[in-house]
Assembly symmetry: C2
Homo-oligomer: 273 residues x 2
Amino acid sequence: MEKLSRNSRVVAITKSLIENPNKVIGLNKFSDLLNAAKSTISEDIVIVREVLEKLHMGRVETISGAAGGIRFINGISEENKDNFGEQLCELLRDPSRIVPGNFIYMTDLMYNPQIIGKAGVILSEYLGKEKVDYVVTVETKGIPLAYEVAKNLGVELVIARRDNNKVTEGPTVTINYVSGSSGKIQQMSLSKKSLKKESRCIFVDDFLKGGGTAKGINDLLKEFECELVGIGVLVDHTGAETKLVENYYSIIDLKNVDKNGVVDLQPSTNKNI
Amino acid sequence: MEKLSRNSRVVAITKSLIENPNKVIGLNKFSDLLNAAKSTISEDIVIVREVLEKLHMGRVETISGAAGGIRFINGISEENKDNFGEQLCELLRDPSRIVPGNFIYMTDLMYNPQIIGKAGVILSEYLGKEKVDYVVTVETKGIPLAYEVAKNLGVELVIARRDNNKVTEGPTVTINYVSGSSGKIQQMSLSKKSLKKESRCIFVDDFLKGGGTAKGINDLLKEFECELVGIGVLVDHTGAETKLVENYYSIIDLKNVDKNGVVDLQPSTNKNI
């Protein structure tokens, strides 16, 4: 391939990094792709790193050693994070979202890539401070968010199922757990193939009320000899009377939906961390 | 903000485009973000466009008029697409994937962002040729793939549920459908709030055998006065005796799993389109 200009090389490097967050990419890969010396690529990377940091668009880390290279950690500025929280609150306050039983309809938001893409970056910044092997969720509403967090952290997603009769899952482990808010007994299952022993997992979901599901996930992970090292949700129902878990991150604090359907919420303070 | 060099501006423009595929971004936005004249930004965009096209990393389209700007359409080279298909076949041939009943365990692949990210680009290239308003799937295994296709096409995802007793969904529409392979009657539900009338939808799933689910989605969409304009799956079970749908895209053609667990598959030829 013909030689490319520096302008062109930095575009290609940026695209490769952004599509592979938290994955170490050797400089050789860029050298081959762009037909340039490693020293030239190193200079290109300095430019990419500087502008992404300046514009609060994430960080580029250098990993030294034989298996070394560079790694992109996605990020968002404090200002954009605050704006995102406010916008989300505004959307959730819309009275037309109230459905019978005084619940807030938020499925469209949980499945909107523009919204969940940003929420995934925010939660992965919080939860990626520790070493993480898997992101775990339980079907269905939290799946896109958990997927985005897994993608940003460069790890696999694992989804617990509500029923355990799926022939394509192979042998499964099923646990019973008690919903923290309703006290109802529920089940969740996970294929025995889904997790490696002694893995460090985080749990991501759409909504945390009593924390029964999070506690259930904790119990399920123990069956796999795995550890729950973090929890992140889009909405924390802070108005819930009991919480079966502590130390979790959220993006929105929901205090209450009153009987007239007026929604009391705000961007999370994450004070309990 | 201080002025940035061209090298730095093209990095920032590339990141913004890649994170918002198929969304029109006005040049003003870049002008403001990067403190540069629109004419300068236009020159930057030419560079970004040229290198992405040269390296088969996608296209940058210009939309003229008052609501105009530029739009990034993600893409992958034919060579990378072929390599991806071959690698996926290799992974699926692994005998340790066979679970009781002679099914192939592929859940880990369906939830792996590195794999599903690429598969999503490939399916969105096929399915994005027509105007699309929503990507529709049915829980659970196809959700990450459907989400990636929706993200690449810049539209919302809609997920039909297997049970219709979710209080947070509001009023729902439920249909019965017949599995194309087993003949078993099943249900799926969708919140009445999830789709706007007269929308054009594509259906994305992990696996297509008899096509009963795809036909069920077609029936469900009719209840919303919406149209099914395309179907894409990761694996097409070409060995299935009957197909209730035609004209769909797939990435892998699975012919057969014999009684010794030997898997006969290949990258899809998509001959039936």
